[in-house]
Symmetry: C3
Subunit: 266 residues, 3 copies
């Protein structure tokens, strides 16, 4: 059961162990996600060359694969890194950015799922539905489906793949083959900052590195994300200051903030 | 004729229709331009793989091609996307970043113009002059020519290509084959933030998606850019806060701001 | 001898001559380093295509090579640009991001050193030690060694390569084959913002472009970096605002700030 105590415990673990999170991620958000990982206390590294991803996986505590600006050589590196991570038995997190928007993205996501067997998959409702091969509309990388509508598909996807599925949206649903955790933290302003979903995925990468009960660590990461987002939105005049304040809040996030603000249902 | 009312109308259209703007843009500014598009109410997507650009164009309302950090596979994708966009009849906007600085950039820009027939081309004075094949000095991606001096060349370029030409600078000139609109909004601090020109081009991508009178929608985008820049500069202590506040101002921009601040001459 | 006067003089030179700094740098930090160069008064250009790097070097005043997200085509461009820069006799600065973390990074760094003979090499202690082929631990792109421990290796590296070696950390050591300058400015919060090391390297690129006494200009750049960092940290609530305020402080940095805050020992 997710609780204030369990979120606080994992955040403390991230900060004290500072896991090295290897990211193969998109060019739009690299700076944000590296900064979010630093702010939460983890240690980010970005590396995408086929020549080095296996070596980088060797020193990493988790691997985050994000297909936001994919191309063939990147996909090759993602697959290679994913296999190395599974072999080494460190968690693999997949962000299928824009799955459903183009066949290339949908097929690449499905190939990564098939070959690398990610432990956690985080997307918006449209992306998750695209992975279940259900017909779904999408607007590029933005969702046009409601999160609620994707929960059934996510459960099926969890059963088929063995992965934890996170559908992020106004309410985040963290789903395995039998249960659903709802995290109700967050702010609409987060949707006005590019890469907030990608940042959530990166934070999941940090939390699964310190807690191998992946449904719990995934939910903890989403809770931390949402709480920091709420705190930042309160102070922000718009999405520009939001981006900066969000990192500040991640960095300062206290046990008290979590205790006061956590809204989650197991 | 550009007027307060016409700017306000187009901004309302962008916000209500939230057009999907497909960007093939440079690695320096991807985050800024995606955030600017979100802040103004549009929906950005970044995709540059040859394997998917045609699919992405299919769901997009406009295409922005920016050569700021080009390489051969990116150029191939730009051409492919540009042709698909013309075929689908959605507007194409070109930002010839650094044209004139290297032969590769000048020739790539001219090839894109020839093959994809962009509807709007936005650059600084040096870049626009480089496209007219006039001898012109440049300082990398910064202009050393005055905007005024480029207007004559821009008119010729507009005649030759059928495109609207935007020369941005302290005064922005929006030019077609017979008329010139001047937008006098903006702040010198904008020149101290990287990618402000690229951001202007992205905003043009949003406005041409909702108004096919391209000289008007281009001028409206430049006006919105300049007004948000003026508002942000007033509050900024330097280029770092400027970058954040600019996004806040785009997001908050009101009819009243436009009414009070617009300085444009048709 | 580094002094308030010598730092002030070089900063003035950067601002008045606004050198064009050609960066071949990583995707994580491109935006930050371009903004830092603009804020300090230099003119940044990013270009990495094999097809154009030699042309860009022709108009540049210095070249910065940063291997933070390398891949074979980028390495080819780095080598080509480095050779062109040496031929033109403009300074070359190398940032061996993550040397020691993977063989690919270590070997690429050593190849660039061998073939392009950089004038300045800046890294953290782990990276510099990796270049001396001493066994050293690393945590991805973060150092686990102390700067002090790397000074001896840096001196050897300086002798072997003829380059100025900068080890950045809580104290920055700027080393040639016979002397060591310590710059003691900075703030721990700088380590919580991604790419601060890369930004330091970019600023070195601006300063060596205006002063060919490279140990001095390197130390001046590190001093300006550290002083702006101290000023920004005082006002920052965390790493998000730090990133913005740092650029503001670079932009506003006054002779008085330097006079009041410089802590350096030759």
């Amino acid at each position: 059961m997710i609780s204030k105590e369990s979120v606080i415990k994992d955040l403390k673990e991230v900060r004290s162990r500072s896991p090295l999170v290897h990211n193969i991620t998109n060019s739009v958000v690299m700076n944000n996600t590296a900064n979010a990982l630093l702010a939460i206390g983890a240690s980010p590294v970005m590396a995408h060359a086929v020549e080095e991803v296996e070596d980088m996986v060797k020193i990493a505590s988790s691997l985050v694969i994000n297909i936001g600006t994919l191309s063939p050589s990147w996909v090759e590196a993602m697959l290679k890194a994913g296999l190395a991570a599974k072999k080494k038995n460190i968690p693999v997190v997949l962000d299928p950015v824009g799955a459903g928007a183009t066949a290339y993205r949908t097929q690449t996501s499905l190939q990564i799922i098939r070959e690398c067997k990610p432990d956690v998959i985080r997307g918006n409702a449209s992306e998750i539905m695209a992975l279940t091969c259900k017909q779904s509309d999408t607007k590029g990388v933005d969702s046009v489906a409601s999160s609620e509508s994707a929960v059934h598909g996510a459960t099926t996807l969890a059963k088929d793949t063995g992965a934890i599925i996170i559908i992020s949206g106004p309410v985040d649903y963290v789903v395995d083959n039998k249960s659903v955790i709802q995290v109700q933290n967050g702010s609409p302003l987060m949707g006005k900052v590019t890469g907030m979903g990608c940042t959530a995925t990166a934070l999941v990468g940090a939390f699964v590195a310190v807690n191998c009960d992946f449904i719990m660590s995934s939910a903890h990461a989403m809770a931390v994300m949402g709480i920091a987002g709420e705190l930042a939105a309160k102070r922000s005049a718009g999405p520009g200051t939001m981006q900066a304040y969000f990192l500040d809040e991640l960095y300062k996030l206290s046990d008290k903030d979590i205790t006061n603000l956590l809204k989650a249902v197991s």
